[in-house]
Structures are given as structure tokens and as C-alpha cells.
Amino acid sequence: MTKLLEMKNLNVRFKGKRTVHAINDVSLSMEQGETLALLGESGSGKSVTLKTLLGLLPPKRSEIDGSIHVNGTDIMSLRGKALQRYRGGEVSMVFQEPALALDPVYTVGHQIAESVMRHKGVNKAEAMSTALDMLDRVRIPSANRRLHNYPHELSGGMRQRVMIALALACRPRLLLADEPTTALDATVQIQILLLLRELQKEFGMGVIFVTHDIGVAVEISERIAVMYAGQVVEEGTTHEIIRDARHPYTQGLLAANLHDVARGERLNAIPGAPPALEVRPDSCPFAPRCPVAMPECAAGLPPLHLPSDRRRVACLRAAQPLAAE
């Protein structure tokens, strides 16, 4: 079976007043129906990776190289009609702010139907019944009535459900989710996470879920790739990342979650801030903040340590068990 996603040595550089090396040599691969969380902080390149996958980066200002295949299709070569068919058909996206991503002047039913008509070439009536079916599937109560609501008439959680219905209406093979629960309240966030988990099983699609919240990543994903300074520093199953984090940055993130820190105890904070990426990192980008850095860390990019199948850690120390903690 073809891989759902095969991304090899992706590099993205933004030009302009200041050059930013947003993505530096990122490779990712996903099997069909897998759920991968891209975990990282602001500026780590997680959102840029998603945008690259949808071909949404401004062509004049960005330099992209590397190869990306989704279901065997080379998406870097897609142009015009083919690109439009790919976006929303093969791959679709759920955004952080549904209030901004939905069009305020059309009813939600109209927006879903519109997308179905465009991609599936069915007539209006059929598209509307698909829309209704989708609203049911995202567990919107009295979907029939909601079909004729405008986005502003819905609550935040409801709008995010509509956004998901819209993204899934054309049965994509890969769903990209860019922090879709960050703007939501805690009790609503967990509803949306569980809904996505159920829909993923139901539709059998792959999901790439971008988040900065390690707890959210645990709830949603089977695999986690931790990004830092435009690189994947550690990848593995959720279990491996949570139970056996090898990269000092991942360990720092886990500690910063405060999940099991005693009250008032001094936190092992990662000092400093991420690099600005004006130049391409030629050594471990985390070394300046790393509690266990060695002189060798500044000498060159760390080799990938591969403890098991589909597990990797970009750290010199990863081979040896860490003395920390």
C-alpha cells in the first residue's frame, strides 16, 4: 500500500526584509489512517509544515525544496486545477479560528454543499443532503435546523464542529488540523478531541494535528513528532514520547506541563528562548538552552539516533541513557 505521506528533506526559507529558515531538512512519513501530532512551540515550524502540505505558502516570498508525496502524488508539481482538486478533496484543513475560516455571509449548509458540489460534481439537492449527513456525523444537535444557520449564530464549539464537517465532507485521505482546539474552553476542547478521534476511526483518514499542548497531543495521536527550530528533534509513538522521551527538549516540555510537579517546587525551566533562525542552524539548535549540552553539540548537527523502527532522536546524548532527573 502506498504511504499516505512521504516528506523528504523539506526546506522552507522565507525571504524578505529578514530571511527566516522556517523548516530545515524535515522528513516525515505516515501510513494510511495514522494520527500524527506535530508538537512544538511558536516558531518551531509546525504550522509552516502544514501550509507547505497544502501549497498555501506565498510563492514569491518562500523558497521550498525537498519532496512531498501524498498518496503517491508529487504535490510540489501540482498546479492550477489539479492543485484545487487536491486541496479540499485529497487533503483538507481545520483551522484554529473557525470564526475566521467560515464565510459569514453564507449559511453553514450552503458552505458545506458548495464544497461538495465543487469536488464531487453532484447537484445542489444531493450536496445539501451530504451537508446534513455531515452535520449529523459531527454530532450537532438538530442538524436540520443548524443547516440554515449563519456562522455567527453558533457557539465556538459548534462552529468548530461545522469546520470539521466542512473539512470532511469530501472524504479526504488526510486531514490537517492546525491547533483546532486552542481557542476553545477546556470542557469544549475535550469534546472536539474525542469527536476527531471517533471520526478518524469512522472515516479511516490520516490526521496531522498541530499543537503546542502536549496533553492534547496525547489525547489525539498515535504518534508524535516534536519540532524545534524548524527540525524534527524526536519522533515516536505517543507512548514512547511520554514514557521514554530521549531528547532534552522533549523532556523539558514534559516537565513544563506541570502535570506532576509539587506545588511551589522550583521548576526546571528551559532557560532562554528559541533561536531566531535568520541563519540555517549548522549545529544542534537546542544546545544553547540544553542542560546536558557537551562541547561536541556545538560542532555540528547531531546525528539521528534510531533506537527502534520509526523512532528517531536528533541528539548526541540519545544513545546513552540520560543521567538527568
Partner: protein, 349 residues
């Protein structure tokens, strides 16, 4: 001279037994205006009958979802929003009686969530930090500002003459903390002060806040939606729902047992952090109701699994649990005389 010596807080009155701040029956309704004449068409019941006190040196955490009134409460505490009803008493002096708004702001300061929007883009960091101290007529405001910048981890020689947009989010939030502390307050209201920061930076700022509390003998009101952070920093936690206090208790007590069904749902909504034991079912369905027309009786009854007729009619009173009077909850389940079929039994599993 160290920065501790230049800290000039208001003198203590009433001794340690007197709460630093006490609010009772606090109410704020925001009018929703519409039409050509801008008449009030509805009222958002942002804060309704909120009472609590914060002891000297204590950190009170306030949690709740959007629309629960936690930010409005913060702004009421420092007089940025004018209260409709209720009383604010700072160290024994009631606002509006023996305490003017300006004096209140001498004793209470605030750190906001958005570190960029809180800083005037046209002022240098030093000017921003020194502004409040100047306004309050403290001695040597610029000198004080430099010392405070140094104390929060910003080298004044490097940062004093920079502008907010040249700093990172974490650095800007340090500026905001310095700005608040330069006025030598006794109470600092932190409204989602670390929420917008990256997790790794958040930990640095939390460490800093803990250090500053000790060094200057500060009292905090810490508002956040992140329960882990609130637990880490607070002594007591206050839970709000639709403008009302539903539960307030010492951290250990509430972490051990959430007495209000809403608090319990809020705690269960936290991601599990355990890949082998992920959340199976969302604790609540739907979104919080609109605070414009909050439900009658107990405001949580529309989403509560244990709601009965009495919950729709009578407003539950906030009162101490039988076995632990410090743990206060507003729920008919805990009130033996409420008339709830399961009254007095506590929240069923």
C-alpha cells in the same frame, strides 16, 4: 542598595489576620446597546454576587471558562471596571469610603495576558516601567525602574532604551511584571499572565513570580484557564461559572475532591497525559450558556447530570462542607435542607 530596599509598599494595617482584600456581593452587568439611539437592549451578567477574600501573602487562583467573569473580576479589583454593587475592602479600608481609586491602585497592580498590547509601542521599555512609579510620585522612578528590570531578569543597560516590538514574548511579559512591581504594590492581579507564553518560557516566568512573591511579600490573585498552572502556584482555588462562585477551597482539598459537579467536569476535561488511559468520554456536552440570559436557579443546572427541580428554581448558597469548613461550595447536593432528592449526600460518582 538592593531592589528590596527601594520597594515602598503601603504600610500594613490590621495585622496578618485581616485579609488583604475582601470583596462582597460584587456585581457587574454590561449593557448590550443597539439601535440608532444606542438603548440598552440586554445586559451581560458578567459578575453576579461574587464574594471572597485573599489573605496576606496568599495566592488565590481563579479558574473558569470564557464568560465566567474571571477577567471582569480582575478588572473590578483594580477599578478598571466600575462595580454596579458590592464592596471592595483593601486592608480594612473600603473603596469609596476611606480608600480612593488612586490609593487602591497604589496597593493593587495587574499583569495582563497580551504582553504586546499592554505596552505602549511608542515608549521605550524604561519609560513604560517607570511610568507608574512616576504617576504614584515614588522617589527616583527611573532608578527604581532600572532596578526592577534587573530584578525580573532584563539587563537595564541592554533593554532600557528598546521598544516593545524588539523583544520576545517572554521578555515583554517580564517588562509587564516589572512595570506592575515598580509601583510597589502589595497585591498583584495576574490575568492569564502566562497563558500566551510558550510552555518553556512559562516555566521561567512562574519561577520568577514565585521568587518575587517571597522577596516582596506579595499577595497574588492568579487567573488562568490552565488548572495545572493554577494548582502549581496557588494556595486556594476559586471556581467561577457564568458570573458566580461555585466553589472555593484550598488546593489540596479541591484536588482531592471536587465538591461541585461543574468543578468535577472541569477537572475531568483536562487532558489525561496518559497514553494508555486516555479520556473516554467528554465530561460535559455543549458550550457554556450565554451570560446575557443565564439559566435560573443554579446556573449550571442546564448542563448538570444531577439537576432536579430545586436546581431550576432556587439559587444555591455558598457554604462550607460539613467535614471541612474551608472548602466552600454552592450546590444543592451538599445542602441537607435544599429539597434535592439526593440532598446532603454530596456529588455521586
Amino acid at each position: 542598595m538592593s531592589v528590596t530596599d527601594t520597594y515602598q509598599p503601603l504600610p500594613d494595617t490590621g495585622g496578618p489576620a485581616q485579609p488583604l482584600i475582601r470583596v462582597s456581593g460584587l456585581q457587574k452587568y454590561f449593557p448590550v446597546r443597539g439601535g440608532i439611539l444606542g438603548r440598552t437592549q440586554a445586559k451581560v451578567q458578567a459578575v453576579d454576587g461574587v464574594s471572597f477574600e485573599v489573605k496576606k501573602g496568599e495566592t488565590l487562583g481563579i479558574v473558569g471558562e470564557s464568560g465566567c467573569g474571571k477577567s471582569t473580576t480582575a478588572k473590578l479589583l483594580i477599578g478598571l471596571v466600575e462595580k454596579d454593587k458590592g464592596e471592595i475592602v483593601f486592608d480594612g479600608h473600603a473603596l469609596g469610603e476611606r480608600l480612593s481609586l488612586k490609593d487602591l491602585r497604589r496597593g493593587v497592580q495587574m499583569v495582563f495576558q497580551d504582553s504586546y498590547a499592554t505596552l505602549n509601542p511608542r515608549l521605550t521599555i524604561l519609560d513604560s516601567v517607570a511610568f507608574g512609579a512616576k504617576v504614584q510620585g515614588l522617589d527616583n522612578p527611573e532608578d527604581l525602574a532600572r532596578k526592577m528590570m534587573d530584578r525580573v531578569g532584563l539587563d537595564p543597560d541592554r533593554f532600557a532604551h528598546r521598544y516593545p516590538h524588539e523583544l520576545s514574548g517572554g521578555q515583554r511579559q517580564r517588562v509587564n511584571i516589572a512595570r506592575a512591581l515598580a509601583m510597589s504594590p502589595r497585591l498583584v492581579v495576574l490575568d492569564e499572565a502566562v497563558s500566551a507564553l510558550d510552555k518553556s518560557v512559562e516555566a521561567q516566568v512562574l519561577n520568577l513570580l514565585n521568587d518575587l512573591r517571597e522577596e516582596f511579600g506579595l499577595t497574588y490573585v492568579f487567573i488562568s484557564h490552565d488548572l495545572n498552572v493554577v494548582r502549581y502556584i496557588s494556595d486556594r482555588i476559586l471556581v467561577m461559572y457564568l458570573g458566580e462562585v461555585v466553589e472555593v477551597a484550598p488546593v489540596e482539598s479541591i484536588w482531592h475532591e471536587q465538591a461541585h459537579p461543574y468543578t468535577r467536569s472541569l477537572f475531568s476535561a483536562m487532558p489525561s497525559m496518559d497514553p494508555d488511559n486516555r479520556t473516554k468520554e467528554p465530561p460535559l456536552a455543549g458550550d457554556p450558556p450565554n451570560p446575557i440570559n443565564p439559566p435560573s436557579g443554579c446556573r449550571f443546572h442546564t448542563r448538570c447530570r444531577f439537576a432536579s427541580a430545586v436546581c431550576r428554581e432556587a439559587v444555591p448558597k455558598l457554604s462550607g462542607l460539613a467535614r471541612n469548613g474551608d472548602h466552600m461550595v454552592a450546590c444543592h447536593l451538599h445542602d441537607a435542607e435544599s429539597g434535592h432528592p439526593k440532598a446532603g449526600q454530596g456529588v455521586p460518582e
